[in-house]
Structure formats: C-alpha cells, structure tokens
Symmetry: none
Subunit: 208 residues, 4 copies
C-alpha cells in the first residue's frame, strides 16, 4: 500500500520520517530550542541557515512568522497522525486509546524540538498565532478525551475524571520532549511501551 511522505495515512501514523522543514525553518528550530524565542536572534538563525539576514527575510516576513510556521507545521502533523492512529484502531476503544497515546509519544520523540518549542513558547506568540496554536492544542486534547470516554462507555476503563486524565496523559507525553534523547538508555519503543502502560493505568484499564 502506497503512502505519501507527508500525509499520514491510516497505516503510516507510526512513522515520522524526514520533517519537511525548509532549511531556514530547520535552522530556526535548533536555535529556538537551544535559546528560546527571545534568546534567539535573527542573526543566529540566519547564520545557522547559511543565509544573510535579508536572505532570511526573503523567505519569512518576521521572526514571529518563523515561529508561527514552525509551530503550525508541527501541530498539524501531530493532529493528522493522531487522527490516523485513532482511525487505524477500528472499533476497539482500548486499541484506539493505546494508538493515540503511542502516536503522541512517538511524535514527541521524533519531533522533540518542535514539540518543545511549541509547548515552551506559547507566551512568545502574538495573539493571532497563539489563538491558532491553542485551537490545535484543544483539538489534540479532545482526541485524547474522546478516546478515554469511549473506553469508559464500553466499560473497559475505570476513570472518574476523563478530562483530568486526558490532561495528565498529554502532560506526560509532552514532557517526553524534555528528557528523551535518541542516544539515551531507553529506545523509542521502550518509551512507547512504558507510556502506554502509564496511560492505561491512569484511566484504570484492566491489566493485560
């Protein structure tokens, strides 16, 4: 079965291949991750991108536009893959929930810097950009909540406060981006495995 590189299909949600970032965007990502939005200067970004300063401005209208493009790209990819992960599960609420958690965990490892910047720089976003980002965050939260509620409804989960559990699970996955290192002691599959188990416990799924 064919799948395009960019758009996650039902089957492809586990793979986060090459980020499709333009060179300036990739350069900015590293600089933002290391120094923060306000600690990063346009000169740093231009240098990292191998461009002159006006060369960088030729591609992006402003520093804020770079942040916006970066964050939107990442969030859109996450939402698309998470939706695919949910779809891929068919009718079983438990599998659906596990898929969503796995996808979130994988995203926060594969797109570590993007996720970190997105979660860290909300306060650096101008109102319009922030509003868009918040919308995407809410959509993600809702997907988790829906998966939990489906499990509760089916009797598979024992979870009194689905909303709080969803937030806890999201926090857990987001925080992966803070500490996970590809060359660290845990493999990506280890991390996935443990976080799916954490999530199962948080929603009171029966032991497997």
């Amino acid at each position: 079965m064919e799948m395009s590189e960019e758009i996650a299909t039902t089957a492809g949600w586990r793979e986060f291949g090459d980020d499709a970032l333009s060179p300036p965007l990739r350069a900015a990502l590293g600089v933002f991750a290391r120094h923060g939005y306000h600690g990063a200067s346009i000169r740093m970004i231009a240098e990292a991108a191998g461009l002159s300063v006006p060369g960088l401005y030729h591609h992006y209208r402003s520093k804020q536009a770079i942040l916006a493009a970066l964050v939107d790209t990442a969030m859109a990819e996450m939402l698309a893959n998470t939706a695919a992960a949910a779809d891929d599960a068919g009718d079983d609420p438990v599998t659906r929930f596990e898929n969503v958690v796995e996808c979130l965990a994988r995203f926060h490892m594969a797109r570590r810097d993007q996720a970190f910047v997105a979660s860290t720089e909300m306060r650096s976003m101008e109102p319009e950009v922030r509003a868009h980002h918040v919308g995407q965050r809410d959509a993600q939260q809702e997907m988790i909540e829906d998966a939990i509620r489906a499990g509760v409804d089916s009797g598979d989960f024992a979870c009194e406060f689905p909303e709080d559990a969803a937030r806890a699970i999201a926090s857990l996955c987001v925080s992966i981006a803070n500490w996970y290192r590809p060359d660290g002691p845990l493999s990506a599959d280890d991390v996935v495995c443990r976080h799916v188990e954490f999530a199962r416990r948080l929603v009171g799924a029966a032991a497997r």
Copy 2:
C-alpha cells in the same frame, strides 16, 4: 505546636504561606513568568518593583543573579517541604509516597510562577546556576524514587520501572503549574486528590 513561617517542620509541610520574596524578587518573578527571562528587561523588573534601575542593581548583582535567587529559593522550599512531608508519614511507605506527591502538587499550585520559571528557564541559566539547579531537581527526583522503591519493597506497589514512574509523577506535578488557576473550577484539594490518585495508579498501588 508553633512553627516558624519559613522553615517547614514535620507538621507544616502542607502550608505554603507568604513567599518570603523581597519586593524586587517578587517583581522579577511576575515579569519572568509573563515574558520569559530573555523577554524580560531589567527596566521592566525595576519598574514593577518600583525601583530605579541602579536601585535594582543595588540589590542584585545582575539579571542572572535575580534568576538564580528566585529559582534557588523556590527549589529549597520545595525540597524542605517534601522532606518534611516524607518524615511526617512515619513508617508507612504508602502514606510517605502519598505525602510526597501531595506536597509536590501543593507546591506547584502555591508557587505556580516560581515553579514555572524554574522549569522553563533552565536554558537561560549560566552554567554554575544551572548546575546548582540540576542538583536540586535531582534531589527532588530521588525523593520520589525512594518513596516508590520503599513501596515496591514493602509489596504495596506494583511498579516495574520506578525511575520512569518517578519522572512521570514529577512531570505531572510540574505541569500543574502550567494550567492550574486559583480561581479555576478545581480547588487545590481537588487537584491534590486527583494527582495522588493518578500517582497511586502509576505505581500500581492497590485500590483503597
């Protein structure tokens, strides 16, 4: 039994009263929380503190020194209170674990801005300051891990990876500072209650 305001005694770990912040430090806290370290200027801080710029420098040697003082104060308080919470539990490993989690949760609500700044601005700390901070973070992590291991050893917890669970619990508590609002729908006790339950589930404590 009386206790001093600042130092948590065995009994007082639940109360986070007035932060003992000097006015310039309190001003800086708000500015850092809203704008981030690099987004905050000395002028903003001085103005928020009702001081002239050199007046501010009279109290603190540099912007970095302000950040260091802010973060150290907060972490020290957290460690002291968590230690008191653990001591207060006597010999029961489950109670000890629950106390530690409760204390962490309460700290991240009562010292929301401090916790947020400390967790967010690690990359803005100069090496020495960062090293000190990392030491404090590790000490906190260890207290959680110890509490988990004690419960595992006593047979109260079913937890295969205590280190990962400790990190998960810490992440959960830290993230409270991101979303909790004193005037929000959940009371502090609600938040504590839910997070203790989340933590119990994460370590596989038997249902109460």
Copy 3:
C-alpha cells in the same frame, strides 16, 4: 493651429495636459510627494508602478536617477511654457509680465506634485543633479526678473528691487503647490486671477 501635446507653442502655454510621465515615473512622483525622497523606498515605488524591483531598475539606473528624471522633466516643461507665455505677449511689458506669472501659477497647480518634489528635494539631489536643477531655477528666476525690468524700463512698474520682487513672486507661485487642491474652494482661474493681481501690486503696476 495645431500643436503637439508635449511642446508648448506660443499659443498653448496655458494648457498643461497629460503629464508625459512614464508609469514608473508617475508612480515615483506620488510616492516622493507623499513620503519625501528619503522616506520613499524603491519597493514602494515598484509596487506603486506595478513592477518588480528589478523591473524598476530596468527602467531607471537608481533612485537618484528617478528623482533627476522627474525634476528635469517638470522644470523643462515649466521653462518651455513660460518662454512661450512671454513670447505670446508681443511687445507689451505688462502683458508679458502677467503672462509669465499666470503661466507659473498654472504650472504649480497642474503639476502640483512635480513642483512640490522639485522644490522640496533639492537637498536630496546629488551634486550633479542639483547643479542642473539650480540652473533651471535660475533660468526661471531670470525670466521673471527680465519681465519686471522691462516693465520698470517702460515706466509701467514702480519697483525698486526687481530681484527681490522676482524672488517674492516665484515664492508665491511655488507655494501654490503646497495648498492648492483641484477640488478646493478656489478654481484654477480664481488662483490665477488673484496671483496676477498680487504680482502686479508687488511690482507697483498701475491699477487697471
């Protein structure tokens, strides 16, 4: 008698028809008039002209060349028409003087922006361009002076300082470009009528 559109003949000096400005020049004129030479950017001009930036450079070598072309075109037209106006008067010094003033007034209404830019941006001209422009200004001044002196010689004017009077009349006409609006309360003929009368009084012409 037919006349070409561009070159004022003895009879046509009252009509300032379509300025023969190329589209980029016309665009630049508006931008220079609104923002001044230094406040205008090549990008503004290119956009106003519906051209790309290099497209604009295809037509004009530099921003300075645009200014030079604009100003020279306007001054040349003014000089040609003023000469025609003087010629058109035949031998009567009073009529000749009145024609010159009328022509100047009409020019500063019909070519408001050009006149404004020319008078305002002398300091923005590079030496060579400025020298050329100053030559044109002097030629204009001389035409007024000559007309005055002829009237003085014939006994029609009572004017002690023809040079100063000529400068005053020129200032008066130039300043029309600052305030005249085609849709304002005064018609072009009103303005002409009043300024011819002002000029007559300045040179001490006998009342008509």
Copy 4:
C-alpha cells in the same frame, strides 16, 4: 522694564536671542535642516550632539519626539512674539499689520533652520504631532488675517481677499528661510524693510 529671556514681552518681540535649545535639540536641528527628517539618522544626530545613541535616547523618547519638540518650541516662540508685536502697536491697524509682518520676517531669519524644518517636515510628523503643528500654523495665519481685516475695516487697506493675502504674506515670510543667509548681501533690516513694503502692497495700503 524687565523681561525674561524666553518670553517675549510687548517691547521685546524684535529680539530673537539665543534659541533655548538643548544641545541634542540643536544638533538635531542642524541635521534635520541639512538632510531632512528621513534622511537624518539617529546616529548622525547623536554624533552631532556629542552623545552616544542611547545617550540621546535618554533625553528624547524617539526621533519623532525630537522633531515634535523642535517644531513646537519654534512655533510657540513665533506665536508669542507675533502676539507681542501686535500688542505693541497700540490701536493703529497699519502699525499692527506692519509689526506682525516684521516679526514674522525676523523670526524666519533668526530661526531659519527651525522654520525651514517646521515647514518642510509636516509630512514626516505623526498624526498627533501634525495636528498640534497645524493648530499652531492656523493660529499664525489667523493673526495675519485679523491684522489685515482690521486695516480693511479702518479703510487703510484695499484688499478684496484678506484670506488669500494672508496666505501670500505667510508664504513670503516662510520662504525667507529658504534663501536668507546672515552673511548674504541683504541685512536683516533690509529684508524686513522690503517685506513690510511687499506686504503693504499686497493689502493695498496707501503709499507712505
């Protein structure tokens, strides 16, 4: 009779002594006059003032604030002196008119650069600054108009369009700042003398 340096009294309106400009303002005045507002850079001004760039900003909030201060100071002085000149004339409308014109002419020589910048940089003023400036210009215009109308009412002047004559006189005086040089062939008294005579002719005053 005593008079302060700054405030023109009834007797002192002919003297424009030391402009009371602060050093940065005086420096800015020269740079604005030579290069225009947009052609002048903050660095030029700072250098001319013998200050560093932030040193300049210590005194003035922005480039625009410098322009505003410069223009307001000049216009206020002009208005005060013109009012004093009118008052000084007692009840004679002709003298009052002559005094007003003389004062205007003297101002545009003594405050050549200020007047030039004020008249030239209207388009560089931000709306609020411009509105204030326009108010001052209108006040000046009105003083001339009032003087003319008084002379018309008394039968001393034969002037059909006082408003247009007032504008012409103002234009004439303003334009002095364009060409007058203290070391030129005409003394200040020469210039005053000629312009008062020009103004008298423009309003149709009887020959003296």
